[in-house]
Amino acid sequence: MVFFAQKYFDKMGKIWHRVCSMEGNELINKVSMKKFNIAVFGWLTVVMIAALVFPIVSKPEAWYDFPFIPALGEQSRILFFHVPTAWVTVVAFFLSMVYGIKYLRSNNMEDDIKSVSSAGVGVLFCILATITGSVWAKFSWGSFWNWDPRETSIAVLLLIYGAYFGLRSSLEGDEKRARLSAVYAILAGITTPFLIFVLPRLVSSLHPEPIVNAGGKVHMNVTMLTVFLASLLGFTGLFAWMFDLKVRLARLEKNHHP
């Protein structure tokens, strides 16, 4: 038993060492982006079907039953689409900040390309999270926009990243643009967790927080939680797909107009 455990950990150590010694692009190439994209597409298709077709019942008995949530009912299905888009927004802005830090340390334009590409995809998902939340609010709260803390904080986040792209387009010279926008991406990235996770919890809100994590605990039945986590994973994969395309496109633009 100990012999097999030692052999297993030795093998895992070697794999981990190989992964750590690879460059980011090399790693992505090894995994093969094409296969990854097809897997993401198939995964999200299954998640969408499950999220929309599994019945909502008052007493879940079958493995595919979703529980009825008071005051939400059928509208609770938004959870599988709205929350993952907000999650991808946070991931994208965090990645933009990380590449901003990397650029300041290395002065490599590749890091600037990745930072701005990540922020671009992040803004797209932030808009999607705002729209899906707003449509849901119309049928739950009575109007599309209520200046609820959640809505206000996401609007502020959109303004912050709108200013990021405004800053980039107003600067001339690649080096200067990359340096200043890297600093801005770091500052904006720091505000993201505060605006998404902290601020809406400091003030009272109508946002249905108690389902997802009232008191820091996830209150969901197993089926709902499984589909929800699968959706989070699928949307993160979709982000990776779109991020890859955007980076490659930005590289081509850079080479065509140096």
Partner: protein, 44 residues
Amino acid sequence: MYEFLAQNPLYVVLSIVLICWFGIGLYLVRLGRKISILEQRMQS
């Protein structure tokens, strides 16, 4: 088919979502292919 969809509006939503999703997927795949062709041209 029509009667089934009329009685189960959730399946109408599902079909609309899947049509949109397949459209987006097709667009992304085609965009990826075009970028690959441009990358190959740039390299050569």
